[in-house]
């Protein structure tokens, strides 16, 4: 089937607005070229239709009729300040972005050998440093093979390449370790934003980064983000992402990681909010001994639609990958998990596992799971498992027999189900945030809050 014929281009006014926004007469020629490539690719692809295999369960055609012009950048700083306070990040090292642009007055940047700060500044001051990487990582994943029936995040990535003006940049020289975790806080007030992040870790560098993607206020937002990550030999990055947009907002993201020899990428994804969220986590294990662990949790409640795609490509021998994704869908929520492990011919002795577990809490909720394996090497050990079910009825009965109300028992078991993923976080502030978010959504949620603090007090 020809998927492209049915893909659609957005409202013309939208594109025009973005084009005007990104015109920079003094930009280097190569950057303009990259942007033009983005434009032409996006115009070629359009928004993917559900006929494209990787968009089978996620419909973005409603985007074409809405106009998400570039967001206004002159916003009320106080509200953003308050949000940072409320998250408990006032004392933490952080890069704060509002509508995709770094706000120095809200940020607290650690000084390191390398660069931490605004992507736009880095591009302006040291373009050659960025040039080698910009788009290179993503190109591996996206642009090289524009196979129309196999479109993943390509159309949105191309749009981002055309439109991005800023994002968070973390560049660590060889042997640099960040002492404290770095929080990257993305806040969005309204309209459209296309942040672009770049995390480059040199040899033996080590960092913990927590990314927050949050709405500021109740307006609808369209955020189309790309994060490019490159890990040098023996480097290690623990990357946690918390997404909690309001229920009017669209969130599309591609996280593309290249991992070199003996380096390790740990990616935790917590998808809570948005009207529709689609995240593609793409990891290339490019050299022997590299390793990745992906953990994810998605909670489509209400009428939310949350789609988590992962793709791990084992391109060299002796690499390890692990995935654990858990989903809970309630009300009319719909969760999609599509995990894919690809093992190239030379990637002998690959060790790969993927686990996906889902729970449906309501009669109208839906989960679609597609755990895939594509294997061309023979000396491998690959396994995956996927389940969809409900909360354990015997456990429910036990809790009920102890005098808990149905909602409370449900809340406790749901939290217990999610805990396997939540407990992999290194940060109390993340854990606390997730606990609160879940407690807020579940009718018996207060119980898990009190139970949790009881437990803590007990310790």
């Amino acid at each position: 089937m020809n998927a492209v014929a049915e893909n659609t281009l957005p409202h013309q006014g939208w594109l025009e607005a973005w084009r005007e926004r990104v015109v920079h007469p003094e930009a280097p020629a190569w950057l303009t070229e990259l942007r033009e490539l983005g434009w032409s690719r996006f115009e070629m692809f359009g928004f993917p239709s559900q006929r494209a295999e990787h968009w089978k369960y996620t419909r973005v055609s409603a985007l074409e009729s809405s106009v998400f012009a570039p967001a206004d950048l002159s916003i009320d700083i106080a509200a953003a300040q308050a949000k940072v306070q409320q998250l408990g990040l006032a004392a933490e090292d952080r890069i704060v972005l509002v509508n995709g642009v770094v706000r120095d007055e809200l940020s607290q940047l650690p000084s390191v050998n390398g660069y931490i700060g605004s992507f736009a500044d880095l591009l302006r001051n040291d373009p050659d440093r960025v040039r080698a990487f910009l788009g290179a990582i993503k190109r591996n994943h996206h642009i090289e093979k524009p196979d129309r029936n196999n479109l993943r995040g390509e159309p949105f990535a191309a749009l981002n390449s055309a439109c991005a003006i800023d994002g968070a940049a973390v560049v660590l020289d060889n042997n640099v370790a960040l002492e404290k975790p770095l929080h990257v806080v993305h806040l969005y007030t309204s309209a459209g934003s296309m942040p672009r992040n770049l995390f480059l870790l040199g040899q033996c560098a080590d960092a913990k980064v927590v990314e927050w993607q949050l709405s500021l206020g109740d307006d609808a937002v369209f955020a189309n983000a790309i994060t490019e990550i490159g890990l040098g030999e023996n480097a290690q990055l623990k990357h946690e992402r918390v997404q909690n947009f309001n229920n009017q907002s669209w969130f599309i993201e591609s996280v593309c990681t290249d991992i070199h020899k003996h380096a390790r990428y740990i990616g935790n994804e917590y998808a809570l909010g948005s009207k529709l969220a689609r995240v593609d986590t793409l990891v290339d294990l490019k050299a022997p001994g590299s390793e990745t662990h992906l953990n994810g949790m998605y909670l489509p409640f209400g009428t939310q639609h949350i789609d988590c795609h992962t793709r791990i490509r084992h391109q060299a021998a002796d690499c390890i990958s692990r995935q654990l994704y858990k989903g809970v869908a309630d009300k009319r929520g719909r969760g999609v998990f599509n995990g894919r492990v690809e093992v190239a011919r030379d990637a002998q002795r690959t060790d790969s596992e993927m686990q996906n577990r889902n729970i449906l809490l309501s009669k109208f909720a839906e989960i679609d799971a597609k755990p895939e394996l594509e294997i061309y090497a023979d000396d491998v050990s690959c396994a995956h498992g996927s389940t969809i079910g409900q909360l354990d009825q015997t456990a429910m009965f036990y809790l009920r027999s102890r005098g808990l109300a149905k909602e409370q028992a449900e809340a406790i078991l749901t939290w217990a189900f999610a805990a396997e993923v939540v407990e992999t976080t290194d940060h109390d502030v993340v854990r606390g945030y997730l606990l609160d978010a879940l407690a807020e959504r579940l009718p018996g949620g207060d119980k898990i809050r009190s139970l949790d603090s009881d437990l803590e007090a007990g310790e």
Partner: protein, 495 residues
């Protein structure tokens, strides 16, 4: 049988060499006069097929509707296979061995044809039984040669039980009400590209009707043989199990070795009413092409069962060793409450074969259950994919599915892939999916070798063990043949 017996005499190198060099056994061509329509497809060809089959009016209408649907459709490209597209205007859509007025009894069947089936190990003589095993149950066979059914055995015995087992062209003439009632109700004409093509041009196939409360007295079997060059085979099989009945049906297929690719696009429709059970087994051994991927059958098949009645059950068992390209997803629509669907599959690919096969289980009714066990073995330069859909609809209270797909890789040039689709819309349903991919364990191999087995035999033993869960679901005669086939298909892929 010799392959099974060869375990004790392992060090016989000549024997191994002989086996290694042997190729597709069923690849001979029968020199028989046949009548074919010239290549090409248009409404005239369809009218001609319908006329030759002396079909009632509704059949022609059905075909023409399907043809018009087909013209609007495009060939599916989502499967994980690569092949040269078929030129649908260069195939002859009808080929039949020349017969005078059709045989009245088996004695009148062309001896050349009988010899062909004899050579394939399928006896059409009623007093004989398959595989020469004494005391084995009798099997009624419908033999389909190119586009027509040439013989059906044991008709009288079946008649006594009220079972209808005949070529579908005969059913169209003699039981039009049954055909009209069920044809196209499970696989509609516009279902997919190949099903539409089949609906337009299908020439023959088997029709089975088991009346209420009858347990079919013997296994039913259809043996498909493509012989003529430049033809496609488009057979259509319909099996209806009325309330409380049971039938076990077997299907086998072979084709000569030819350099060009031949198309086999079949449609199978099963209907199980209340408390009925259908067991459908396939041993598919179409010509797979040579080492370089030249020739071989394109096996593009739509098989679907509708478990309409409460407590009904359909079980698919398949052993797929042949075909250059396989595109096949035997499915169950579990409409009736408490209905059960099962799918057991072994798919072996070697040389340059490509298989994209699996199942669909659609849970509609309450407390419906399904089990999927799929074993894929890839060797040589082949690609073997499992593609399956488990769909739980909102009303399928208490539905239950268990899926297990295991892949075995033999050699570093082949690929094994798993593409499961799981869609859950009911919170009381439980769906489980598990998949593993690995190669033959060195430890197991070592153990067998130090016990004195040759490597070839050791691998045979391990592979048979890997497939055991599926094989045990085959009727006995078929299990013997299937095990033999597994051995042959994998020869030369070790070491």
């Amino acid at each position: 049988m010799e392959e099974l017996d060869r375990k004790p005499k392992t060090s016989d190198d000549d024997h191994v060499d002989e086996l290694l060099n042997r190729d597709y056994e069923a690849g001979f061509v029968t020199d028989i006069e046949s009548e074919s329509l010239p290549p090409g497809l248009d409404e005239g060809v369809i009218r001609e097929i319908s006329k030759r089959k002396e079909e009632p009016e509704f059949m022609l209408e059905f075909r023409l509707n399907a043809y018009r649907d087909w013209l609007k459709m495009t060939e599916p490209e989502w499967a994980h296979v690569n092949y040269e597209k078929v030129d649908y205007q260069s195939i002859s859509y009808f080929s039949a061995p020349k017969l005078n007025d059709g045989p009245k009894s088996l004695d009148e069947v062309d001896p050349e044809l009988l010899a062909t089936y004899e050579k394939l190990g399928i006896s059409l003589k009623e007093q004989e039984v398959l595989a020469g095993v004494q005391g084995a149950p009798k099997v009624a066979v419908d033999a389909v040669f190119d586009s027509v059914s040439v013989a059906t055995t044991f008709k009288e015995t079946l008649n006594e039980a009220g079972v209808i087992f005949c070529p579908i062209s005969e059913a169209c003439r003699e039981h039009p009400e049954l055909v009209q009632k069920y044809l196209g109700t499970v696989v509609p004409t516009s279902d997919n590209f190949f099903a539409a093509l089949n609906s337009a041009v299908f020439s023959d196939g088997s029709f089975v009707y088991i009346p209420e409360g009858v347990r079919c007295p013997m296994e039913l079997s259809t043996y498909f043989r493509i012989n003529a060059a430049n033809t496609g085979q488009f057979e259509r099989t319909i099996i209806i199990a009325d309330k409380g009945s049971y039938v076990s049906y077997l299907e086998g297929c072979t084709a000569p070795m030819r350099d060009e690719n031949q198309l086999h696009a079949a449609v199978v429709e099963l209907v199980a009413l209340d408390d009925a059970e259908i067991k459908y087994s396939t041993v598919q051994n179409w010509y797979p092409g040579d080492e370089n991927g030249k020739g071989g059958i394109y096996n593009f098949v739509t098989k679907r069962a509708d478990c309409r009645g409460v407590n009904s059950k359909v079980s698919w068992t398949q052993v797929e060793t042949g075909s250059a390209i396989t595109w096949k997803y035997p499915s169950c629509i579990l409409t009736g409450d408490n209905s059960v669907g099962e799918f057991y599959s072994v798919a072996v690919t070697n040389k340059r074969q490509e298989a994209d096969t699996g199942t669909k289980m659609i849970h509609v009714g309450k407390n419906t259950r399904s089990t999927v066990i799929s074993k894929g073995i890839s060797a040589g330069r082949s690609n073997n994919s499992y593609r399956g859909l488990i769909k739980i609809l909102p009303n399928a209270e208490g539905a239950r599915n268990y899926t297990q797909c295991d892949s075995l890789l033999m050699g570093d040039q082949c690929g094994a892939h798993t593409f499961p689709y799981i869609e859950g819309k009911n919170p009381t349903a439980q769906v489980e999916h598990e998949a593993t991919t690995s190669k033959i364990s060195e430890d197991q191999l070592f153990y067998c070798l130090q016990r004195g087995l040759s490597e070839e035999d050791a691998v045979g033993l391990i592979v048979n063990g890997f497939c055991k869960e599926v094989m045990k679901n085959l009727p006995m005669e078929f299990a013997v043949e299937a095990q033999k086939l597994l051995g042959i298909s994998l020869e030369g892929s070790v070491g």
